[in-house]
């Protein structure tokens, strides 16, 4: 299974994290720190796998972004590598030539899409079309209910006034 997904930039800025195994806040910070330290210095011609603390991290660099997924040491590394690519392709279709800025400003969309690709650390859907359909439907729901969705913050604001 995939234990976590991590996206960080060339400068080590974290862009997205998703944890499928329990990690405390402290551990999460440590994982991010250590892994960016291990992965960022690696040259372009090395393999895409890093052995780290008894597990394996499969990573791939797209432009300025590193996509990392942590799997068990006996899992299939190439399969995971292609899950990363699969996810990137879906992002690319959704945003149209996805770039780091898309993920910064629409990070919630990146999470939504990831949730449609992976659940419980396993691949949920390998059809890009199918994911695109679901995301589109969700977007429609969001648009329809945008006003209502804002209600909670209004309520709390009113209550605390």
């Amino acid at each position: 299974m995939i234990h976590f997904v991590l996206l960080f930039s060339r400068q080590g800025k974290v862009r997205l994290t998703k944890w499928y195994s329990p990690y405390s806040q402290k551990e999460r910070a440590k994982v991010i720190r250590e892994l960016s330290g291990v992965i960022l210095p690696r040259g372009p011609k090395l393999c895409n796998f890093v052995e780290w603390r008894g597990v394996k991290v499969v990573y791939k660099r797209y432009a300025s972004l590193y996509f990392c997924m942590c799997i068990d040491s006996e899992d299939n590394e190439l399969e995971c590598l292609e899950i990363i690519h699969h996810y990137v392709q879906i992002l690319d279709r959704y945003f149209g030539n996805v770039c780091e800025l898309d993920l910064i400003f629409n990070f919630h969309k990146a999470y939504f899409i990831l949730d449609e690709v992976l659940i419980a650390g396993e691949l949920q859907e390998s059809s890009k079309k199918s994911v695109a359909r679901v995301i589109a439907a969700q977007d429609a729901l969001v648009d329809a209910a945008k006003e209502q969705a804002a209600s909670l913050s209004n309520i709390i604001a009113q209550a605390t006034r």
Partner: protein
């Protein structure tokens, strides 16, 4: 509208916020919860808006830290609500309540009316729940459901279901046999691209993920026997192995190789025919030579896994050169893999090459990998050394090249090795001396060299530049720059060197003594103590010789390095490789060759000639200097030391063999060596031979009385259990409460190896004991140690029987011996005050807890003798407690698994007739009382009367049964 609409919620929140204290807040929350509860219960027709409001309230209450134990269903209902706002609420709440969802999720998954989107989420949700709590899935009914689910046509759902199945099968392969054929069908369908929608192909490959997962599921089944399924599966695998080409597109290549590598692991798992295996090795050989780093990495990784499968070692060896090249790859991941592979593929034939390659690499290797590298090189060198001096060379080189990365275990091990192999000692000392000459010497090297030269430099004394007077300054040169612990070790080396230079070299003595003198005021207590003690000791003259004798041999044990390699290594394949190796050692008993060595020859002065103060020092010395090589065994050795000081010198035959060179070895030598030569076997003449449970008619007879040996061992913890011209069996026991550890020593006295050695323990019902398998063969003059753990379950006088046999190249000799695991071993003296004794004695009024018997035919003895006998059995006599001087009052504690039982004993003797007495035993446990009474009676009754009339006493238990049968 939204604002006014949620009025109830905002009122509630402001109410809670306005609460003055915690108590008020709780009241308000309770009121609200009660309100929501009644709402949910009574008013069926809640509007979606109301439902939403109440779930929000519950969520708010939950966030405040209160328990919310209802409303789960309402939340779930909201998830499926039609409007987004409601759905969102449901999802937020749903997470908290997921535990009770499993049945609903299962329903969703198997219902055919649900949308695929929901069903695949349900499958993975169930997987998540299953990981958290395996009870959510009941194998019985669920395996059929899983099989049905595998007929699913929607690839998305099937992928999710397959992920679930991987987890289910991994935990319980037996429950899901019915899924095997379906999985094979799926993989067939995928590889043939039958009926795969366009959107589920990835670069033209039919869902590589589903292929990988399906093959993964198949690997969790122990084996696939059905010939038809096997056949079609192998066809598919063959097609994947052969039909995967390298293509330009990276992603397509990755995807197809993901499938290929999964197929490879499946082939390995299925234990395919030989030519398919060699096809796999050939393929992997190709992979480890390609430029693409991912493929090379995986090639190496899978080759390591492949090593676990039999018969491929030779074909993998052909790629050794290529693997060594990968050891220098710029990528650390690849270097790690190739190191692992080299470690795994190493055996006697290629050890020299591989280890030397590792050593060479050590100087350039990066820090991240050095420690592992050093450890592995050390293990391989030890395991496959073509000759021992090479092993010493390797380790010393290792320390020289990567001292910082050589853990202490490594040098401890080399010291153990050198100590146990005499022919190596001079060589090791000379080599170590050479290393000390180099300009920069690592501290670890100083330690090894200091230790080895301290122990063995006298062996070099005739060589040029190696006299004690020359060696000392070479070592002492390093002294100022080393850590305190090393200083302490060096001090021990100095006194040993000084001792070996006897007859004294005044110049050397002056130098050494001045060092000791100087460090008498050193800040560190350990160094200070040693300096003072050695200074005093060195004034003692000849008595020092014994104390500073060479270290005795170490009992063999599993290399601490191997353990360490297992512990530190997280990699599964590596781990199993080590484990596999370990499994090849079928027995944990170990053979120690050449036990009777020059080690214990010269001990003219027993320890008692040294003043009592120096015993302490001596012990301190032994312990300290063993801290290095013996670090995990010091307590045992210290215990052995104490014992050898106190125990019967003649009886403690085994101490010099297993524990240390105590003076007893002087006594031991004649028994073992001379007796068989000079004395004819006395067995048949011995009237007590009856007690030997010796059932066969072999001509080999014990050289003494087994029952005498047995009786002696009942009173002490170590000694000989059995001896004949070929074998000597010794026992050494340690007892702590209800537990005991008995080491059985099987020593071959003969010059020919003993074969077909067999030893089985037949335990009586009140003891739990397990003897590990003993090695089949005992080499000439070697000794085998078999540890035996004993646990007492309840009181009984029965004793276990050791059934052993061996073949001495002429005849098979066998015997059944009683093991001295008698009741007294589980007794501990209990000193008790007179008031306590009387109180307890009175509270235990009569049978069955208090038993009394008049014993006749007692072996006449004085009260003082009887007291001594009682004390020997750990029954603590309290003199003066009984006013009558002819009575004995004693107390002891019996230990068993269920706890300790205090037992009180009273013996009333008749000074006029010493052959009879009245025995009373009391304890809180009736059976313990009875057994202890009988046990004491057996000990008191005249031994000769037993001989005359064995039936009167009789042996109980299996021993007796066997005796009767034979």
């Amino acid at each position: 509208m939204a604002l006014s609409g949620m009025r109830g919620l905002s009122v509630f929140i402001s109410d809670v916020r306005n609460c003055q204290n915690k108590e008020q807040e709780r009241l308000r929350v309770d009121k609200e919860l009660a309100n929501i509860r009644t709402k949910f219960k009574h008013e069926k027709g809640l509007t979606p808006y109301e439902k939403k409001k109440y779930v929000w309230k519950m969520l708010y209450i939950y966030m405040l830290g209160y328990d919310v134990d209802f409303g789960h269903m309402e939340t779930v209902a909201l998830i499926s609500a039609p409007k987004y706002a409601e759905k969102q609420v449901g999802n937020v709440g749903g997470k908290e309540f997921s535990e009770s969802l499993a049945p609903d999720v299962q329903k969703l998954l198997i219902s055919s009316s649900c949308r695929p989107l929901v069903r695949k989420k349900a499958a993975l949700c169930l997987l998540r729940l299953y990981r958290k709590n395996a009870d959510v899935v009941n194998v019985e009914g669920w395996s059929d459901r899983m099989a049905q689910l595998l007929d699913e046509r929607d690839i998305g759902v099937l992928t999710a279901v397959m992920s679930l199945l991987v987890s289910l099968v991994a935990n319980n392969p037996d429950g899901y046999w019915n899924c095997v054929s379906k999985c094979v069908k799926i993989i067939e369908r995928l590889t043939r691209s039958q009926d795969i929608p366009q959107e589920y192909t990835y670069y033209g490959i039919p869902s590589p993920w589903l292929q990988v997962k399906t093959m993964r599921v198949l690997q969790y089944f122990p084996s696939i026997e059905d010939p038809n399924i096997r056949k079609s599966l192998f066809e598919v695998l063959q097609r994947i192995l052969m039909g995967t080409d390298v293509v330009k597109n990276v992603n397509k290549n990755n995807a197809s190789h993901a499938v290929l590598f999964e197929a490879l692991s499946l082939v390995m798992h299925l234990d395919a025919e030989k030519d398919m295996m060699s096809q796999c090795v050939a393929l992997l050989g190709k992979f480890i030579a390609v430029r693409e780093p991912n493929i090379r990495y995986l090639g190496l990784e899978n080759m390591t896994r492949m090593l676990l499968v039999a018969d491929v070692q030779e074909s993998i060896k052909r790629h050794q050169a290529q693997i060594i090249t990968s050891l220098k790859d710029p990528d650390i991941s690849i270097r790690r893999r190739s190191l692992d592979l080299l470690y795994g593929m190493c055996d006697v034939t290629n050890a020299k090459d591989i280890v030397e390659e590792l050593l060479q690499y050590l100087t350039t290797a990066d820090f991240a990998i050095r420690e592992e590298l050093a450890l592995k090189a050390a293990i391989l060198a030890e395991k496959f050394a073509p000759d021992l001096s090479w092993y010493v060379d390797v380790i010393l080189q290792l320390i020289e090249k990567a001292g910082d990365f050589v853990s202490d275990d490594i040098w401890y091990r080399v010291v153990q090795f050198v100590t146990n192999n005499e022919d190596l000692q001079a060589y090791a000392a000379a080599t170590a001396r050479d290393y000390l000459d180099k300009p920069a010497v690592h501290e670890t090297m100083v330690k090894v060299a200091g230790y080895l030269l301290g122990e063995y430099s006298h062996l070099l004394a005739r060589r040029p530049g190696c006299s004690p007077r020359e060696i000392f300054p070479i070592i002492h040169d390093k002294f100022p720059n080393v850590a305190t612990s090393t200083k302490a070790l060096l001090l021990s080396a100095y006194i040993k060197i000084l001792m070996h230079s006897q007859p004294g070299d005044p110049e050397l003595q002056k130098q050494v003594l001045s060092v000791f003198k100087k460090y008498e005021t050193y800040l560190d207590a350990e160094v200070q103590q040693r300096a003072i003690e050695y200074f005093v000791l060195s004034q003692k003259g000849p008595s020092m010789v014994d104390i500073m004798a060479e270290m005795p041999k170490f009992p063999e044990r599993q290399s601490a390095l191997l353990k360490k390699a297992e512990d530190t290594d997280g990699d599964a394949a590596e781990l199993s490789a080590t484990k596999l190796r370990l499994q090849q050692q079928t027995s944990n008993a170990v053979v120690v060759v050449n036990q009777h060595s020059a080690n214990g020859t010269s001990h003219p002065a027993p320890l008692s000639s040294v003043s009592s103060g120096t015993r302490n020092i001596d012990r301190g010395f032994l312990e300290q200097s063993q801290v290095g090589p013996q670090h995990n065994d010091v307590p045992v050795k210290a215990a052995g030391m104490v014992q050898s000081l106190t125990a019967d010198l003649l009886g403690d035959l085994l101490a010099p063999l297993a524990i240390e060179a105590a003076p007893a070895s002087v006594a031991a030598t004649p028994t073992t060596a001379i007796l068989p030569l000079e004395e004819p076997p006395v067995g048949p003449a011995d009237p007590l031979a009856l007690a030997v449970l010796d059932g066969n008619s072999s001509s080999v007879q014990p050289v003494g009385s087994t029952s005498d040996w047995f009786n002696a061992l009942c009173k002490k913890d170590s000694g000989v259990l059995y001896e004949d011209p070929f074998i000597q069996i010794g026992i050494k026991g340690e007892w702590r409460g209800p537990q005991g550890r008995v080491v059985i020593f099987l020593g071959n006295k003969h010059t020919v190896a003993l074969t077909s050695v067999r030893a089985i323990v037949l335990p009586p019902s009140h003891l739990r004991m397990q003897l590990p398998p003993v090695p089949e063969l005992i080499p000439p003059r070697a000794q085998v140690q078999c540890p035996l753990d004993v646990l007492s379950l309840h009181a009984s006088r029965e004793v276990p029987v050791l059934d052993f046999s061996y073949n001495n190249s002429a005849v098979t000799v066998g015997s059944k011996l009683r093991l001295p695991v008698v009741m007294s071993k589980f007794l501990q003296p209990a000193p008790i005050s007179s008031a306590d004794f009387v109180a307890i004695w009175r509270s235990l009024a009569g049978p069955p807890n208090k038993l009394q018997e008049v014993v006749r035919g007692v072996n006449p003895m004085l009260i003082s003798e009887m007291t001594e006998l009682f004390n020997m059995f750990h029954i603590c006599v309290s003199p003066g407690l009984d006013p009558n001087p002819n009575n004995i009052v004693a107390a002891t504690t019996f230990f068993s698994e269920s706890g300790a039982t205090l037992c009180l004993v009273r013996v009333e003797t008749d000074p006029a007739d010493r052959t009879q007495l009245r025995l009373t035993v009391a304890s809180t446990d009736a059976s313990t009382t009875f057994e202890l009474k009988e046990y004491i009676k057996e000990q008191l009754v005249d031994i000769s009367s037993i001989t005359a009339n064995p039936a009167t006493l009789g042996f109980t238990g299996p021993a007796a049964a066997l005796a009767g049968l034979l």
